[in-house]
Assembly symmetry: C2
Homo-oligomer: 191 residues x 2
């Protein structure tokens, strides 16, 4: 477990006490393919750090269609930040796509760490800044690239994700239907 937390720490210095605190409020868990970690409509207070495997967060719209917001792979954090921030029921479902080991945090307790160990702040700030940059880039990609270009880029960003995702997971992340993605893949193979 110690070494697992090291990954959370990244390159930041963190006191042993703060590290102990992280242990005390977290729980290492294993999930299998198909398991739901957070369900849309339920109350949310969990934040996950992925040690290995693959999770997916998605929203189900009024027509019952799924829209993937994020894939959670190794060393990524994943949760329903909208639900947590608004203090409302989850608007996302988080599902396990392949056998995964994660560290589960209680959101409130994790948020408490800043009052107890302010030294944790720079780490969190760095994390949030990177998150914002990633999201900005994603929005720009969505605005200016074609579906085929977005798919190419996606494969570069998640090189072996196709090993454990279904076509429609990726399609719903790219904002197209699975049929369209299928056609894009056919075209791509012709090239």
């Amino acid at each position: 477990m110690k070494e697992l937390i090291k990954k959370i720490k990244s390159n930041q210095d963190l006191s042993t006490e703060a590290e102990e605190y992280l242990y005390s409020i977290s729980e290492k868990k294993t999930f299998s393919r198909g398991e739901i970690l957070i369900g849309q409509g339920q109350s949310v207070n969990k934040i996950y750090f992925v040690l290995n495997g693959c999770l997916r967060s998605y929203s189900i719209d009024k027509n019952g269609k799924e829209h993937t917001l994020q894939f959670g792979i190794k060393d990524w954090w994943i949760s329903d930040y909208i639900g947590i921030h608004n203090n409302e029921p989850a608007i996302l479902t988080i599902e396990c796509l392949k056998e995964s080991i994660v560290i589960e945090f209680n959101a409130n307790k994790l948020n408490n760490i800043f009052t107890v160990f302010p030294e944790y702040e720079p780490f969190q700030r760095n994390l949030l800044e990177r998150h914002v940059v990633t999201l900005h880039q994603r929005i720009l990609n969505q605005l200016q690239l074609t579906a085929a270009e977005r798919y190419d880029l996606f494969l570069k960003q998640y090189p072996d994700i196709e090993l454990y995702t279904r076509n429609y997971h990726i399609a719903s992340y790219l904002g197209i239907t699975q049929e369209s993605l299928s056609r894009i893949r056919v075209e791509k193979n012709k090239r």
Copy 2:
């Protein structure tokens, strides 16, 4: 100026020293419609806090088309966070849409505040968290709403923005052409 910074402070407590530091590294500026604050391709090290008026950040794609990432209105921060984070030339242009008063920060100096005044951390964290939530919501809207629905939502979020934006500013934010937006508006008026 004191009261201006109060807005930045929001509801957070901030020591007088930290406040003084913020003064010392910032500069209050006025821009007129059409002025470019940051130009795509140039180096970026500025971050703006909008006191009043309206700014817009956008990217120009390989076909010369503009794609609006963000509108910067009262009390919003705006910059090219991608360029700053990657330490690369700006990928965004920031333009002034109507006479605006802003506080201009040097990104590096602003970043320094955390070593000098760690008490500023919670404020920044809160800001970043809200930013992430906003972006998550925007991505979900883009994925699951029609252009007309996104336009309706946009008008609710920015009630009087049409007073100082052009049609194509909004269209490029919604991910459609100005012609399509025009048609959507016509349909909307029929309802």
